[in-house]
Amino acid sequence: MSTALAESVTKLSRLDIARRAAAMIPDGSYVNLGIGIPTLAANVMPAGREIVLHSENGILGVGPAPAEKDRDRDLINASKEYVTLLPGGAYFVHSDAFVMIRGGHLDLALLGAFEVAANGDLANWTTADRRFPPGVGGAMDLAAGAKAIWVLTDHVTKKGEPKIVNACRLPLTAKGVVKRIFTDLALIDVEPRGLVVREMAPGLTLEALQAVTEPALILAQDWREMVVPAT
């Protein structure tokens, strides 16, 4: 299945997906940002609010990327990108980073995805291509441990195939954990009654969104056009 969207649709950039999600994080939350689009959120956290970012290599209070001259080879996040530390931040041993994750202390994890199923199943650690080594990293721990999982992803693969599917074909990361999905086309909640579309990109129709999404979508009565907040 490959469907071209109408040219009038304004898809969100990867950074804008991160912006949209960051704006919805409650004040005071402890949040892990996974590899991919989620990591971008560290640089677009809403101004004037305190949200504590966790990195599973052993940091709480991750700040935005430093200027090139201020890079410190000892201060990187779990995506191996240079970061900074906010006042109030702390360093700790890797096993304690996962006490926080697995012990249910994180309010939220923002993760990338290869596939998300209608029931909240997540597949994001290995592709079907067995020539390439799989890499699980902290994905299974985060999926099992964080109080809530939001997925940030392009709506379709590079080949144009849906990433939101009836059932994951790829090996699972965890079962039934995804609560909310942010894509370049929509904001979708995973609810017991099904996938509920809360927001759509400017110019998009439910029909066009459904055409690139496997499970049946439910349009929320109070759905809105997606607005990317300024940061």
Partner: protein, 228 residues
């Protein structure tokens, strides 16, 4: 909105603690015991409590007072009887308090398991003894291990040296003891500190309990002396 876990009084720090709850209390001997917070729980009137603490209190204040007043139905600890544990000893002799005795390393490891999302662990400690009675035993590499379960609490009362408004903590010497593991293992972690410092003042390399494990912080009465 800025994060601010500092509360202005002990009463606010312990608010919501109610009868029937399970409460962890930091301290080993007289070092690191959160006496102000324990007094706060006494003042609240909460009763029918389960207390998890290494010892069972000495003297007439703090945990000894809580036990002596009959508020504690059950205590989970490793070493209840010490010089000065008369209030506990009397309740125990009268059959007025239940005692669950746990080997000390198993006690803190069970707390850590609860905080770390571990469902259970095998330890060699206590294998072949009365304290392993009724527990699952497994031979691993030719050695006997006992399956132990996570130990959670509704509330942890912890004493630390200093905190900032996010709730980062540092401790003082052997007063650290159970504080960091109890802070991980409770639904609500309440901390009394000797000093509250501005955010960013605690060296990030030196913070022992990162803020994520802490819910409320209050300044203790540094002048008050307790009989413990």
């Amino acid at each position: 909105m800025p994060i601010d876990k500092i509360v202005p009084s002990v009463a606010e720090a312990v608010s919501g603690i109610s009868s029937g709850m399970t409460i962890m209390i930091s301290g080993f001997g007289f070092a690191g015991v959160p006496n102000d917070l324990i007094q706060g729980v006494l003042d609240l009137g909460a009763t029918d409590l389960t207390v998890i603490s290494n010892n069972a209190g000495t003297g007439t204040d703090g945990l000894a007072a809580l036990i002596g007043s009959g508020r504690v139905r059950r205590i989970i600890c490793s070493y209840p009887r010490s010089k000065g544990s008369d209030l506990f000893d009397a309740r125990y002799a009268a059959g007025e308090i239940e005692l669950e005795l746990v080997p000390q390393g198993t006690l803190s490891e069970r707390m850590r398991a609860a905080g770390a999302g571990i469902g259970g662990f095998f330890t060699p400690t206590g294998a072949g003894t009365e304290l392993a009675a009724g527990k699952e035993i497994r031979m691993i590499d030719g050695r006997e291990y006992v399956l132990e379960t996570p130990l959670r609490a509704d509330v942890a009362l912890v004493q630390a040296q200093a905190a900032d408004r996010w709730g980062n903590l540092v401790y003082a010497k052997a007063g650290r003891n159970f504080g960091p593991v109890m802070a991980m293992a409770a639904d609500l972690t309440v901390v009394q500190v000797r000093e509250i410092v501005p955010l960013g003042l605690l060296d990030p390399e030196v913070i022992v309990t990162p803020s994520i494990f802490v819910d409320r912080v209050t300044l203790m009465d540094n002048e008050r002396e307790w009989d413990i």
